[in-house]
Symmetry: C2
Subunit: 727 residues, 2 copies
């Protein structure tokens, strides 16, 4: 077998995945879209989502074109970078954009169909919503693997004449392309969704005293669009990137021999592609297991989703061992991959433990709300901080096992293993916003109470899977970033041998680590403020409409939904500029300074070690902060829901009011800043990976001239050596 | 000159400092303590503080005895550790405890005298309060330098017969002793002060509707005791430790030749002692410059304190250059020391910028309070996160400059330089709680409005210096921890040469970094929860007294202050156990596993690299988190005060209510969890430094047997090497 065999298998699995997505799409679209009122609402959401996506893609198109030009220019300036990196970059961006487009296309059509199906039965509602989720899940993994497989065949066979080092290096561009889309989709989408949500609530619930999802609220459509924009397209692009980058990191480390014998190099490159291929097929099989019966309890609903995810994990575990044996890879490689798979499942479990209202931490948080808003905030922050323990230790254990089993390659394969069942785990995520929208439509269209009850059950389930999904997204981002960092350090070819002290105490490394540790804090501050600023625009527009449109408050006149959607779109894209620019420009700047500092004094202060330190520092700080923010936000949300469920005084009580404060703080935490850190983390690593060949060639050609010895020598004869005291 | 000369100079400067402290003490005690009512209140605070301190010292005494026994046992078990480490440990603990005792002794007597002096004039009030601060400042630096100087003479000259490596290694025990006290004083004191504060407010202000500092509130004395316990004794022990450890790290690195030529080794050991000695003298001189005239504005008051601090900095800068020249050290060493000194001043400035009501960030935060509590929290957290930028970049710049100038030794000297003026900077900190107490006494004793106005002016100034002091404490803790980590890595003697990738991608190092990054989050979660738990006890007791003591509400019966003080003391010491145990036991556990893992499979998962990684990870994460929490807390506090000053609707407005929520969240942030991270940071490093000789000897004797190569080799003939694809 050659690498082409594996890539062809990857293409075949991807095509099967796309076929399945088409089948599910057809199923969803064949369902009834309900009455005229429902269709009208759904069309407004569709238009809004469409509008955001086309605006976003236009903006991201400029960025992609710009970066592509830079990559092309670099490929002419230096022999270290091939023009094919730019090709891979554009392909990755296109594939991710397409996946986002199709996923959202079906989500905004599945919502109203889920509402309609729920008016027939709970099981039917679940099937429609979940099927639309599988479209997103399948398309993300299929387009990602398809792109990697096709490009790798092209690069290895045709372009680079068998030079796997150059081929894998150019392939990194594909992951970078995915990052560009993810930056806009996750950060911009995160700002959009919370700005619309907060804006709608601030005027609607607080000032006008109308319930959530009330059609009189001009921002209600923007709010519903936001769910799709943030949780479908944003989450999808985030995981597209993790998925692609983990496979690329594994290939890259296999080529560089990161812990793998030379004789197995080719098979080690084939393995991640084949595991991913198996994962796609397995996810399809498992998705047929997701169904429930009428009158199912919350536990039964959750159980049916879990059956799907756990079955997929079990099946893929078997596939991992079979494939490794088939490829003649030692069993340790399978152990490493399995460690990652298991870690993903465990992180999901612990995230649920810390954020679900059925467990003690969130219930205790809800009880603390009797002490007022300040106590809720303190307890929630403490809960979020405490909840970092489990995911960090799980990732540490997985890393130790994977690395002991198969070196750096093992770490990358652990990331691939964790993401192998993404087809179905992403389906359970993307299901959430569809169910949420379905409930909103039921409310707006004034459907009978029993329909709303069913959509509420589906929605509550979606909240649980959303929290779990976020934990999984962070864990896999950390694991992927670790694998990417390993690939970066290997690709930089830093072969100078030094003592541990010389490495760790190099001021450039320390500087880099501090900068890397700092970036997530600054980035989070900016994204949190961005939500507030964007929400302000919505608030003003909603107030204006209530003031100027006669009859709006009484329900006799229609609000102007489109303007709110437009404002959300504008301000989300504008507010994401600063954090986005910082995330891209800091590694770029450090890279430029590194190149400029070769052979002169600047090199004593900035160098590749600064870049490497930045990756390490950001990995530590972003992982902690993302888990903390995401879990605190999830727990606040569910503590509020727990009280709304009738506990501790119920809705309207003082406890409830305090819990609402927690929930509002948690909104940007869990839906904007926390998830955005995933992108930051991977972005920093993939930018450096893409330019690693240039940095390697520049630094190795002049490294002998770099002053590294900073020891001070005795200056003059007046300072004569003295005897050691006491001698 | 030999090291003995420097040490003798250190002893002389210390004695001068102690003499100055005695002079200031006599001045303070010679002031009138006011009328009987005032003295009665003051005595209650004195008794409470005394009670806490003796309880705390009894508890810490057990810990110190336990650790001393362990150190003695280790010195018998292994030739790598000397019994003198235990002696140094007990000395350090005793010196820090003594400094805390005297500092607090004078603070709880200066408070009522400040009240009385303020009834005469503002300047007199400032002089009394500031003089009591200088007692604390002088005693901390003098006892610290005295201990180091005497022990180093003893060790170098008598005990180790001129072996500076062994002498400096044993000296590390002195810093460790300081840490043991700091752990109890800073963490326990931090819990005490906020539990009493929150407990008093929750019942007093909220339930009983009586003003702050009202003598009817049974927790009011505990609250006043808390200010002394947390901000005098806690802050003092924290900085005692930084001060001692930075000097020890510099000596240790000078001995180990961290960037210093062998010929200058002895002079490089003398330099930190002499810089510290100069700093003590200079602080005394500068403290006479602190005075103001009657009717001084807030700016003039602040200006007079600044005159003192800046003059001391200027004078010590001159001394640094003169001393380096005298010792024949290259000018680069002075540059490194100066970089640290300047960094300390700059961090103080930026902390004030982010947390003072006179600058934009806090004013914007205050304005945001119109949006309700959730917005205040989001903005405050964002402000805290953003404010990490300046201190981190300042520390990075100082590190780069110091390291480029004089290697690792330069980094340690930067920490020494930053702390050289501690005598006066600590005086401005310790002044704060005295002024705060003075105001409380004026209120409780029902003194005329003009007295309260003067004490309010002194108190407001104290709030500003407290915020600046916290920033300085964090910055110096980070700088000291960096220097200690450098000393640790050097002392471990890890001479194996590896590539950068082999060092950084070692799974043990990665594990350590993640654990180190995690610890501050878990530690902060626990300390925040500890405040809540301890406050609960106070709330119940205060409620009980209002229920059971007839006439208390009407002011005709006396509350039982002592019980509240007792409960605060008990619960603070009990609640600090868990975070304290975690902080001490994690490095210990990793060290034990490291020793156990020599030459067997365990060594693949845990080793000295795990310990080193832990130091690096904790440095990054604790520094960011501490700055964020401390500055967010300071900004919330001052945003509330800004509104109480009559802005934005003033006291009682909705904005004020929202700001109060922020302030309450900020209390444990800025006074418990944030500052406690300083201790965690240094504790982890000093524990490893103390046991470094053992670890070095254990690991170097068996290192050849440790399996480090985890590469996987082709297993069997069936996996025949394949050609690279395309060939």
């Amino acid at each position: 077998m050659t690498i082409v065999t594996a890539a062809i298998l990857g293409v075949i699995a991807s095509l099967v995945g796309l076929g399945f997505a088409y089948y599910q799409r057809t199923f969803v679209l064949s369902q009834s879209a309900g009455n005229e009122k429902m269709q009208q609402i759904s069309r407004a959401i569709q238009r809004g989502a469409q509008a955001f996506l086309s605006r976003e893609y236009r903006a991201v198109g400029i960025l992609v074109a710009l970066v592509a030009v830079i990559l092309v220019v670099l490929s002419f300036l230096t022999p270290s970078m091939s023009i094919w990196t730019a090709v891979a970059f554009v392909s990755g961006a296109s594939a991710s954009a397409l996946a986002g487009y199709f996923g959202m296309y079906i989500a905004v059509r599945a919502n109203v169909r889920t509402t309609q199906a729920s008016s027939e039965s709970l099981n039917k509602g679940l099937r429609v919503a979940f099927s639309s989720g599988t479209v997103m899940g399948s398309i993300v993994v299929s387009l990602s693997l398809l792109g990697i497989s096709l490009l790798y065949i092209l690069f290895v066979e045709a372009v680079f004449g068998g030079n796997a080092t150059q081929a894998s290096s150019a392939l990194a561009g594909f992951g970078f392309g995915g990052t560009a889309i993810a930056l806009f989709a996750r950060v911009g989408g995160g700002i959009y969704t919370k700005a619309a949500d907060v804006g709608a609530d601030l005027v609607g619930k607080t000032e006008e005293n109308i319930p959530e999802d009330d059609p009189r609220n001009p921002a209600v459509i923007a709010d519903n669009v936001g769910d799709n924009v943030g949780d479908v397209a944003g989450m999808g692009s985030d995981l597209f990137e993790s998925y692609a980058s983990s496979i690329i990191a594994a290939i890259s480390l296999a080529v560089a021999g990161g812990g793998i014998a030379d004789a197995l190099e080719v098979n080690a490159q084939m393995f991640p592609i084949m595991v991913a291929a198996a994962g796609i097929v397995v996810s399809i099989v498992a998705s047929f297991l997701v169904q429930t019966k009428e009158g199912a309890t919350q536990e039964m609903l959750l159980g049916s989703l879990r059956t799907g995810v756990y079955s997929a994990s079990g099946l893929v575990a078997v596939a991992i061992f079979l494939l490794a044996a088939l490829l003649g890879l030692p069993i340790e490689v399978s152990v490493a991959t399995l460690a990652g798979l298991l870690a993903g499942v465990l992180i999901g479990y612990f995230t649920e433990y810390f954020t679900s209202g059925t467990y003690k931490p969130t219930q205790t948080l809800a009880q603390a709300s009797a002490g007022g808003p300040a106590i809720v905030i303190i307890r929630g922050l403490a809960l979020g901080m405490m909840s970092t323990l489990a995911p960090v230790l799980i990732v540490v254990m997985a890393t130790l096992v994977a690395s002991a089993a198969a070196g750096l390659y093992g770490i990358a394969m652990a990331a691939v293993g964790m993401l192998s069942t993404l087809g179905i785990t992403l389906a359970t995520d993307a299901y959430g916003p569809v169910a949420d929208n379905a409930g909103g439509i039921a409310e707006m269209a004034g459907l009978p109470k029993e329909v709303r009850e069913r959509t509420d059950a589906l929605d509550a389930l979606g909240n649980t899977t959303a929290a779990t999904g976020k934990g999984f997204a962070i864990g896999s981002a950390a694991m992927t970033a670790l694998a990417l960092s390993a690939a970066v350090i290997t690709a930089l070819g830093l072969n100078e041998t030094l003592t541990i002290g010389e490495v760790l105490l190099d001021p450039r490394l320390i500087t880099g680590m501090f900068i890397g540790g700092l970036l997530p804090f600054v980035f989070s501050a900016l994204t949190m403020l961005a939500v507030g600023n964007a929400a302000q625009g919505i608030v003003q527009e909603v107030r204006r409409q209530f003031r100027e449109i006669k009859g709006l408050r009484e329900g006799t006149a229609e609000p102007d939904y489109e303007t709110c959607v437009g404002i959300s779109t504008d301000s989300a894209l504008r507010q994401m500029l600063l954090p986005g620019i910082i995330a891209v420009s800091v590694p770029m700047l450090l890279a430029v300074l590194t190149v400029l500092g070769q052979g002169n004094i600047l090199g004593q202060f900035v160098g590749v070690k600064t870049l490497v330190g930045m990756l390490v520092g950001s990995l530590i700080s972003a992982f902690m902060l993302a888990v903390m923010m995401s879990n605190a936000g999830g727990a606040w949300d569910n503590a509020k829901k727990y009280i709304e469920g009738g506990q501790l005084g119920g809705k309207g009580s003082d406890s409830h009011k305090a819990a609402v404060v927690g929930d509002t703080v948690g909104d940007p935490f869990k839906d904007t800043s926390g998830p955005s850190l995933n992108i930051l983390l991977k972005l920093l690593a993939i930018v450096v990976l893409v330019i690693a060949p240039i940095l390697r060639d520049v630094t190795t050609s002049t490294s002998s001239a770099t002053p590294t010895d900073t020891a001070i020598t005795a200056p003059a004869p007046e300072a004569t050596p003295e005897a050691t005291p006491g001698n």
